[in-house]
């Protein structure tokens, strides 16, 4: 038993180490390809652009971010974002540039406004409604189960049953 547990523990450690090695390899690979993609660009702008485009949806492949997508349009948009950053535009101005053209749909983090109230507050409304229903249900159930004290006869019988069970 003990030996088995120890070897299992050993295996677990090996796997953990393997996992870390793989993680390091993958991170390095990512860093290398990321460098290869834009060798001549200002790293500061690239970093800022990456941070911004990671919050944006690519319109061609809608489940990808603008940072990750390899679609032609995503490349063109990244080019334009890069240019605007070099021209000194703020992130807010660049986001406005994109939403003016493609709507709030490009934002993975939609703004709070009339059309998105349901999206933002709906879950909380459902939570409150659910808790209220649950609370009222439990309260009513407690009222239905009324405490009726045992008569002395019943108590005697209950004690006898308990005793015989233990015995």
């Amino acid at each position: 038993m003990k030996l088995g547990a120890r070897s299992a523990n050993y295996m677990y450690r090996l796997m953990k180490r393997g996992f870390f090695l793989w993680a390091i390899v993958l991170v390095l690979a990512g860093a290398i390809t990321a460098k290869e993609a834009q060798p001549n660009e200002d790293p500061k702008i690239e970093q800022r652009m990456k941070a911004l485009t990671e919050q944006l949806r690519c319109l061609v492949c809608q489940n990808e971010t603008l940072a990750d997508s390899r679609a032609d349009l995503a490349e063109d948009l990244r080019r334009q974002i890069r240019e605007q950053m070099k021209a000194g535009k703020s992130d807010q101005e660049i986001l406005a540039f994109l939403t003016d053209r493609y709507g709030d749909f490009v934002l993975y983090n939609p703004p709070v406004k009339k059309t998105t109230y349901l999206l933002w507050f709906g879950p909380f409304i459902l939570l409150i409604a659910g808790t209220t229903v649950l609370y009222r249900y439990l309260k009513r159930r407690r009222e239905l189960i009324s405490d009726q004290p045992l008569t002395s006869d019943e108590r005697k019988r209950a004690e006898e049953i308990l005793r015989s069970e233990i015995g």
């Binding site: 319109l59 061609v60 809608q62 334009q80 003016d100 053209r101």
Partner: protein, 175 residues
């Protein structure tokens, strides 16, 4: 009590209803924020005569369709014969923007298969198309006399779209 027992069922049916509606909607059709806004201005060189330019300013006072297409775009080829047919009726002039394309290839396609466009402008780096919020060619915009976008079709124009969306609107705008 019975009322509450039915609640999960009602909620479930409502959920199924939403999912059913969702099935029939195309997530690729993103509502354009440009509807009822002035069509973005641009100045592009013409496809056939590169030293001449085209700008939507020239179209003031006319109701017209601006169609973004490219020879690389399969759905545009699908739409092409219909555009040819509708351009011949002369109901609404169709202007083209050749989007991220090779000039020679575009002219060759128009020569071989027919040219539905009154004029085609060339947008080789796609900047004007981005200003119009194009994300999947073909896309078409119906623009009124004051240069305001009144309708946008994402994807190929079909007979249904032309007859039910574009023509009636164009007729009304021309009145």
């Amino acid at each position: 009590m019975n009322k509450f027992l039915l609640l999960p069922l009602v909620l479930f049916i409502a959920l199924v209803g939403f999912l059913l509606i969702g099935l029939h909607r195309d997530p690729h059709e993103v509502p354009s924020p440009l509807i009822n806004k002035p069509a973005p201005d641009f100045k592009l060189s013409q496809l056939r005569e590169p030293n001449k330019t085209f700008t939507p300013q020239e179209m003031r006072g006319k109701v017209w369709v601006l169609n973004f297409w490219g020879t690389w775009c399969v759905a545009c080829r699908e739409e092409h014969p219909l555009l040819l047919e509708y351009s011949k009726t002369g109901a609404v002039p169709i202007y083209g923007v050749d989007y991220k394309d090779d000039r020679a290839a575009a002219m060759q396609m128009l020569d071989e298969e027919g040219d539905p466009y009154t004029l085609t402008a060339s947008d080789p780096d796609g900047r004007v198309s981005i200003d119009y919020g194009v994300y999947g060619a073909p896309e078409s915009y119906l623009i009124d006399r004051n240069g305001v976008i009144r309708f946008k079709q994402i994807g190929p124009i079909t007979r249904d779209v032309w007859q039910k969306e574009i023509l009636p609107r164009a007729k009304q705008l021309n009145q």
